[in-house]
């Protein structure tokens, strides 16, 4: 094989060094070539073993630390690339390097080699405690911190580790101190340390380091103080409060550190404290030192000066945290309030005043965290909202950010409002919210329902005030479509389910009105009842609320209880709810159960009905569209050449999208489509770089051609590998293709002008034909391109067009936003050749065809598609096999089958590797036909990753 040629020189050098043992040091060049041999999988075993011998000699004889370092590195590579050699490598390193070397650095490096081999094999490294400690005590600082960092890998006894770590917190080198502290944090488990003195020693040492000059040491010290402080708190019930207070004060004193990281750590740690004296806690909300803190005795028998010092370090620390310059700190403070508010009701009331103001923060993350903390408080019944809060609180309903307003609504569902005034404000706020964001209707209805049920009395009094408003106008037409009336109806129907007997005061006619909104309401109330039940409930109430109030048998202690059967339910509900999907209909005859479920997360209930979470799907599509909208916005960045920024932003979008893919199976296609689109935009950004004015022409046309080629391929995949695309979407893809061709044509130096021109004109005519079909307005760019392509078509054919004309066209282009609707299917295939890998080969008999058993899964491929299996050998000779889909399953969505693919062109070799892949013919007119004997007629789009199949002659494996 020709691959062996460059290697031969290395082998010579190995041989020469083995022939000449006196020459024990290897040159850097030799080492480099050895490495390339080691990492190449095809290097024959004999070469490898001679490399191993060379390295062994080098390790034994060399004195040069640099050579030894490289030798060790190579041995480590050798062990990782050739698992069979790892035990000999490990033995060699253990016997020579570790023991004989007098350099701690080298010893540490050999330890690293040993440890990584051992980790791969899942066996422990047998390093005894004493050698570990003595290595730590060596003079090299870097080795010391490496050892401390990696101590876990060597399974050193925890007690030895503990003393070592504790000792090294005294090291003059800050980095060692930090590592030692981090190590201590890892050991702060009751299972490791039982000795009170030890815990106190570690805690106090960490406390001392809170005053370190280096930020990162302080930050590690805060973690250590928190970890060991909590140990100390848990140690003894009697001293629990004392130590908890002590720890709390220590952590508070770091809340005003100048380093942001330290502050974040401090506030994170504060959130872990579960008990603390109330007066200290209250002091954190006031920058002034309060009288009570001065007088109290919970600081133990400390002298007065110390109490004052503690009080002043605690003073207002949470206020400072909430108004910090860095949103990370503010967020962490909000989070820590979740646990702290549980400690004291008085504290939680005061903290709430602050939290309400935080809703005005400029960072969305902080506002969201504040709302989450409030939700947490509400679930613990600590959220005492007052009139003064309402402006801020309801303001966040109006927040432009979806997640903020939806978090606010979640809180409203649970909150207990103190009086009618605040209740009215809330209802008005919700109605306002509904009018501005009709897309959130379901969520808002649900909140109204809950809030009405939680405050039955207030709800009734509002409804009675505005009853006339809800009456239909005199013509007799039911006009409940205004958002306000709909919202009030929802509020009204919740009343009978509330605690009291106020329901009687709701005019029954309102329930009949509500029936007209049955579909919309039932979507909102999936967490409470299904549509049939709702209808039954409404019709019952419309006859007589008195009756229902009795019948519903509501108990005071458990108001939202239990199933009550309502008889005789007309089936006509089906006609009313025709706007809503069918899953709500349960198909039961005659009667339905009013299944009143106690407050449940809507998602949970929805998933009962659908088998997948309802909220999530809307959320997913919405979020995806949000991201896609943002993609549109980066077009100016691409144009102005901020390629790196664009790539970074795209990467973050991609990560965001990827989270959806893992969440719901239903939108896999849409997610894949969006990802593919991001890929296209990325490639477009890279291509655009070449079209920036500042870019020199000499950048290499090859580079541009490759980039354009990639872009075209990605676009083609986008066009061919998805089903359920709307005309609009297809047009958008075609527009991008047009752009690609235009870009290619507008570069003078670009090759294949004629072919590109042809592609451009076919694509343009395709665009025209689509435009004729629908009522879609063409973009400026499209119309300009079709004008130009018409010109070139009609002018004397064959003459290459002026690149500058095409360049002019680029001005018209701008990215349009893709919108997904959850309808896209992803055409893809999975291909598995069972029981075949580098170890297990398929047998073949020379000169006879071989059958390769393939387990194939095809997604979203219909029978019209022409699917091929492509098999390629190392010499690029290719064979195609057609898959007749009619034979394999009837469903278009998923076909799963096993098929034995015949391969005829068996080479005359002992063994070979076949790369196998599934492709689908593109059916687009702009794709050139390929004339291949026995192969596909058109260009293939590949639907899966290439698989390697290992074959070897019978009797050879």
């Amino acid at each position: 094989m020709d691959r062996d040629l460059p290697n031969s020189s290395c082998e010579q050098s190995i041989r020469s060094s083995s022939e000449n043992p006196a020459e024990d040091s290897l040159s850097p060049e030799t080492l480099a070539s050895l490495r390339s041999l080691v990492i190449t999988p095809s290097t024959p075993d004999t070469t490898i073993s001679s490399i191993f011998q060379t390295l062994t000699r080098s390790l034994q004889l060399s004195r040069d630390p640099l050579v030894l370092h490289h030798t060790l590195k190579l041995l480590s590579d050798l062990a990782s690339y050739r698992p069979s050699l790892s035990s000999s490598v490990s033995e060699l390193v253990r016997s020579h390097a570790l023991l004989s070397s007098d350099s701690t650095r080298l010893a540490a490096e050999s330890l690293d080699v040993l440890a990584s081999i051992a980790e791969r094999e899942g066996t422990p490294v047998d390093l005894d405690d004493r050698s570990f400690v003595s290595l730590c005590f060596g003079p090299s600082v870097s080795v010391r911190s490496w050892l401390l960092r990696n101590a876990e890998r060597f399974r050193i006894g925890p007690h030895v580790l503990l003393t070592t770590f504790l000792g090294f917190t005294r090291d003059p080198y800050p980095y060692v101190r930090k590592t030692a502290l981090d190590g201590l944090v890892g050991l702060s488990k009751p299972s490791v340390v039982e000795d009170l003195d030890m815990i106190q020693a570690c805690y106090c040492r960490a406390v001392e380091l809170l005053l370190d000059t280096e930020d990162y040491v302080r930050s590690a010290a805060v973690r250590a103080v928190s970890a060991w402080g909590l140990m100390l708190v848990a140690f003894n019930l009697k001293t629990k409060l004392y130590w908890s207070d002590n720890l709390f004060v220590k952590l508070c004193s770091m809340g005003r550190d100048m380093s942001m990281e330290v502050r974040v750590e401090a506030f994170d740690a504060l959130g872990k404290i579960e008990i603390v004296s109330v007066d200290i806690l209250l002091q954190t909300l006031s920058k002034r030192v309060l009288g009570t803190t001065k007088e109290m005795g919970s600081f133990g028998q400390c002298p007065a000066a110390e109490v004052e010092r503690s009080a002043s370090s605690v003073a207002g620390v949470l206020v400072h945290g909430l108004e910090d310059e860095f949103y990370e700190v503010r967020k962490s403070t909000c989070h820590s309030l979740r646990t702290l508010t549980i400690i004291s009701a008085e504290f939680s009331e005061k903290a709430l005043n602050l939290l309400m103001d935080v809703l005005n923060d400029d960072s969305m993350f902080v506002r969201l965290q504040a709302l989450e903390t409030m939700l947490h408080m509400a679930t613990y019944g600590l959220l005492k909202v007052q009139g003064t809060h309402m402006h801020m609180f309801l303001g966040s309903l109006m927040d432009g950010n979806m997640s903020i307003s939806s978090a606010t609504r979640k809180i409203l569902k649970l909150v207990k409002l103190p009086n009618l005034e605040t209740f009215k404000l809330s209802v008005d706020g919700l109605i306002d919210n509904l009018e501005r964001h009709p897309q959130d209707e379901a969520d808002i209805f649900s909140v109204l329902f809950h809030i009405g049920r939680n405050h039955g009395k207030y709800g009734v009094s509002i409804i009675n005030e505005v009853f006339e408003e809800m009456e239909p106008p005199s013509e007799g037409k039911l006009g409940f479509d205004t958002a306000r009336v709909a919202a009030l109806l929802v509020l009204a129907i919740s009343a009978p389910l509330s605690h009291g007997q106020h329901a009687c005061n709701i005019p029954p006619i309102i329930f009949s009105y509500a029936v007209t909104l049955l579909g919309r309401i039932s979507v909102a109330l999936t967490d409470v009842m299904n549509q049939d039940t709702l209808l039954a409930y409404l019709s019952q109430c419309s006859r007589s609320t008195r009756f229902s109030a009795m019948e519903f048998n509501l108990r005071e202690d458990k108001p939202h209880l239990p199933a009550v059967t309502i008889a005789s339910l007309s089936h006509s509900s089906n006609e009313i709810n025709s706007t809503v999907g069918s899953p709500f209909q349960q198909g039961e005859d005659g009667a339905a159960n009013l299944q009143y479920q106690a407050i449940r997360e809507p998602m949970e209930v929805a998933s009962l009905h659908f088998g997948y979470p309802l909220e999530v799907q809307d959320e997913v599509i919405r979020s995806m569209n949000l991201i896609l909208a943002k993609v549109k916005d980066i077009w100016p960045l691409i144009q102005s050449g901020f390629t790196n920024e664009v790539l970074r932003v795209l990467r973050s979008f991609k990560e965001e999208l990827a989270t959806f893919a893992s969440g719901s199976l239903r939108f896999v296609g849409d997610v894949a489509f969006a990802l593919q689109y991001l890929q296209v935009v990325k490639q477009l950004a890279k291509v655009w770089e070449h079209f920036l004015p500042a870019r020199k022409l000499c950048s290499g046309m090859g580079e541009l051609d490759i980039a354009l080629g990639k872009l075209e391929t990605s676009l083609r995949e986008m066009r061919s590998r998805f089903t359920g695309l709307s005309l609009k979407q297809e047009l958008q893809i075609l527009e991008l293709l047009l752009l690609t061709f235009t870009l290619r044509l507008s570069k003078v130096e670009s090759c294949c002008q004629v072919a590109s021109l042809k592609k451009l004109s076919t694509t343009a005519s395709h665009v025209e034909s689509i435009l004729k079909l629908g009522s879609i307005e063409p973009s400026n760019f499209m119309s300009e391109v079709s004008k130009l392509s018409y010109l070139t078509r009609t002018s004397s054919f064959g003459a290459p067009c002026d690149p500058f004309l095409f360049k002019e066209l680029l001005k018209y282009f701008s990215l349009e936003q893709f919108v997904v609707f959850g309808t896209i299917g992803h055409i893809k295939a999975e291909l598995v050749v069972p029981d075949n890998d580098a170890e297990n080969h398929l047998p073949f008999v020379p000169r006879l065809p071989v059958g390769i058993p393939c387990e194939i899964t095809l997604h979203n491929i219909c029978s019209e598609n022409k699917v091929w299996v492509r098999m390629t050998m190392d010499d690029e000779s290719t064979q195609f096999v057609f898959l007749d889909l009619d034979h394999f399953g009837s469903s278009d969505e998923v076909r799963k089958f096993t098929y034995v693919v015949p391969f005829y062109r068996i080479p005359s070799a002992l063994s070979f590797i076949l790369r196998i892949c599934i492709g689908m013919e593109c059916s687009f007119e702009d794709v050139p036909s390929v004339k291949r004997y026995g192969g596909p007629d058109r260009e293939l789009t590949y639907l899966c990753q290439e698989k390697e199949v290992h074959l070897s002659m019978v009797g050879e494996h």
Partner: protein, 651 residues
């Protein structure tokens, strides 16, 4: 070497900041401000105290200016161009950019409006700024071989900085004005934990403690929102730089979130120009502004439009920012006259308004009529909202900074005398740091760190490279008194690493001082290591030993034989073993050993270690001699007290 601090201005007053610090032969002037309250020579610092003969170039190494406010920079052109200082001047880039327009404004007001004598001309300002060297935050500048300065972010106004100054081993920080809490457009002061001899800090709000700014912001937004919802107009009189940007960012953010469409106007002029400065100097703004800068410059106000005079009487709600802040004249007064009579409108007032201005009149109570001049009276029916956003740190912030830096000494300037005294007391009592609040023209001398450069022997260096920590356990008798040392809890187990402390400083005549390792030192001296041991010889009343002695020995107790004497030690051993819990007690026949403590019978008649010569009853006492090394002193006295049958602690 001492650090000398001459306070030329802002000593026990707010105004004309100017402090001259002499350290290790260098003399630095911090700030060169003027006092706006005076119109005679008192408005400038008394420069003659720096140099009698006016030779300022020799007398000063450099000038450092913290920010562009006139009480910090106002006297600079006068000092350089009129008094003739030609040395270097340091300030941050934004200060350098903004100072000329501030100075020019001031000059115009003084000369053109009030017709005063000119202190300096426009050319002077230009010439003066040419001497300025601009620095960046955290940039270390070597002024000369010995003097190093470094600016730290101070908040307060755009470009404000604190300055760290180091000459030799003496280091100080001069803060200028600073803010420890961030606002919407500027960050909080930020500094490293430095080793300082002296901290000179402002103390404008030496006793004020401010609540969270969130509440004030929420109130402001609520008032503005209410007013515009009701169709009213909001007038926000501000000065061009600082508050206007902060409030505008606040409103923009709120407008964005609440999706409000009501226009916000900036009256043309300096404010728009100031916004431009902010846009350029984005790295000096708050974290939030910096973070969002890549997507949107926070000073590119989306909702802000330029205001035209004709719009004053246009119908419909709006918000207008107009200068000057105190409604003392200019555009804000013009608008005020038009808008004040309507109840629907709202006027916000800055936290502080100079006496005599309309702002001040509005602040004091809620007047229904205001006299604009002798003949004109204005009905004021609009709502008034007072803002209290201050760019200065409060007392809590000062304490926090002092605590974080923990300097050896603090000097307070730029504050009111009685309040400064209170703060001074707090700094001393809570932090234990000495603090001064000198008056103008006073000099404070404080001692400074002085390091000696020494060589180090190889053995010493090697020994400091290797870790050498050891653990010490406090012995149990320390329990009662010293576990809470200085109010701090001390654990039983402590860890020490004394590798650096083990060196010995050797100063030989004519040679450079050197640190050597302990072993080397002995070698150098040719001496052996000596241990200090304490010795004590004391009588033990034999009656006391009776309790533990067996009867056959007691029978011959009045005639002590040599053989009788030898039985005393085992008895002591038993007694000690009983009473001394823990500790490694060993009995070697001739003596008893506990750690380094040893005790044996004293057979001498005249023992040099004997303090009590004659016991009360000679025949009943036996003398014992004991010795110990210093490490076990407490243990030794405890054993002795056991042996003497006394309670420990009565010694």
């Amino acid at each position: 070497m001492a650090i000398e601090c001459l306070v030329l201005g802002a000593g026990q007053q707010v105004g004309k900041s100017c402090v001259v610090v002499s350290m290790n032969g260098k003399r630095i002037m911090f700030d060169c401000g003027m006092d706006m309250a005076y119109h005679d020579h008192r408005r400038h610092p008394d420069f003659s105290r720096i140099s009698e003969y006016g030779d300022f170039d020799k007398a000063l190494t450099c000038i450092v200016i913290t920010h562009f406010h006139l009480d910090h920079i106002g006297a600079l052109p006068y000092f350089t161009e009129v008094c003739g200082y030609r040395g270097p001047i340091y300030m941050t880039y934004p200060t350098k950019a903004l100072a000329p327009s501030m100075l020019e404004d001031y000059r115009k007001v003084m000369v053109e409006r009030r017709g005063e004598e000119e202190q300096f001309t426009s050319e002077h300002i230009v010439e003066c700024m040419k001497k300025v060297i601009a620095v960046d935050v955290k940039q270390t500048v070597q002024v000369d071989k010995d003097l190093m300065i470094r600016a730290y972010y101070a908040g307060h106004v755009l470009g404000a900085a604190m300055f760290y100054t180091k000459v030799g081993d003496s280091a100080i920080v001069y803060t200028g004005d600073y803010n420890m809490t961030p606002d919407r457009h500027l960050g909080a002061a930020q500094i490293d934990r430095l080793q300082l001899d002296l901290l000179i800090t402002e103390s404008t709000y030496a006793t004020t403690i401010r609540d969270s700014k969130y509440g004030r912001e929420a109130e402001f937004l609520k008032a503005v929102h209410k007013c515009v919802l009701g169709g009213g107009k909001v007038l926000i009189p501000t000065f061009a730089l600082g508050r206007a940007q902060e409030l505008c960012i606040l409103l923009e953010d709120y407008w964005e979130r609440m999706n409000l469409k009501i226009p916000i106007y900036f009256s043309s002029g300096l404010t728009m120009q100031a916004n431009m400065y902010y846009k350029m100097l984005i790295s000096w703004t708050s974290q939030k502004v910096k973070e969002t800068y890549s997507t949107r410059n926070a000073f590119d106000f989306k909702h802000v439009l330029n205001f035209d005079r004709s719009m004053i009487s246009a119908p419909g709600p709006c918000v207008l920012f107009a200068t000057p802040g105190w409604i003392s004249g200019g555009f804000s007064l013009e608008v005020f006259k038009q808008w004040a009579p309507s109840e629907m409108n709202l006027i916000t007032l800055p936290g502080y308004c100079a006496a005599g201005t309309i702002g001040h009149k509005l602040m004091s109570g809620k007047p229904s009529k205001i006299d604009l001049d002798k003949d004109t009276q204005l009905d004021v029916r609009c709502q008034i909202h007072q803002l209290s956003f201050s760019p200065h740190t409060d007392a809590k912030g000062i304490m926090d900074l002092v605590k974080f830096l923990s300097p050896k000494h603090v000097i307070l300037v730029h504050g009111e005398k009685p309040k400064m005294a209170t703060l001074k007391g707090r700094i001393y009592s809570e932090l234990g740091i000495r603090c001064d609040d000198p008056a103008n023209n006073e000099t404070v001398c404080i001692p400074s760190t002085h390091h000696v450069e020494v060589g180090a022997s190889n053995t010493f260096i090697r020994s400091s490279l290797n870790p050498n920590f050891n653990f010490s356990k406090m012995s149990s008798e320390d329990e009662s008194d010293s576990r809470l040392k200085d109010g701090k809890f001390m654990p039983w187990l402590q860890v020490k690493d004394e590798r650096a402390a083990e060196g010995i400083l050797v100063e030989e005549k004519g040679k450079r001082a050197k640190i050597v390792h302990l072993d080397e030192f002995l070698l150098m001296l040719g001496e052996k290591k000596h241990d200090i041991r304490f010795a004590y010889c004391f009588p033990i009343n034999t009656d006391n030993l009776e309790d533990t002695k067996s009867t056959d020995v007691s029978s011959s107790s009045n005639a002590l034989s040599v053989s009788g004497r030898s039985s005393w030690l085992p008895m002591l051993y038993i007694k000690l073993s009983d009473e001394l819990s823990g500790g490694n007690i060993q009995y070697f026949g001739e003596q008893i050993q506990v750690e380094s403590f040893s005790v044996s019978l004293c057979l001498k008649d005249r023992c040099p270690y004997r303090i009590v010569d004659s016991p009360p009853n000679k025949c009943e006492a036996v003398f014992f001699c004991c010795a110990w090394s210093i490490a076990d002193e407490k243990l030794a006295w405890k054993i002795i007290s056991i042996l003497e049958n006394r309670n420990y602690g009565t010694l």
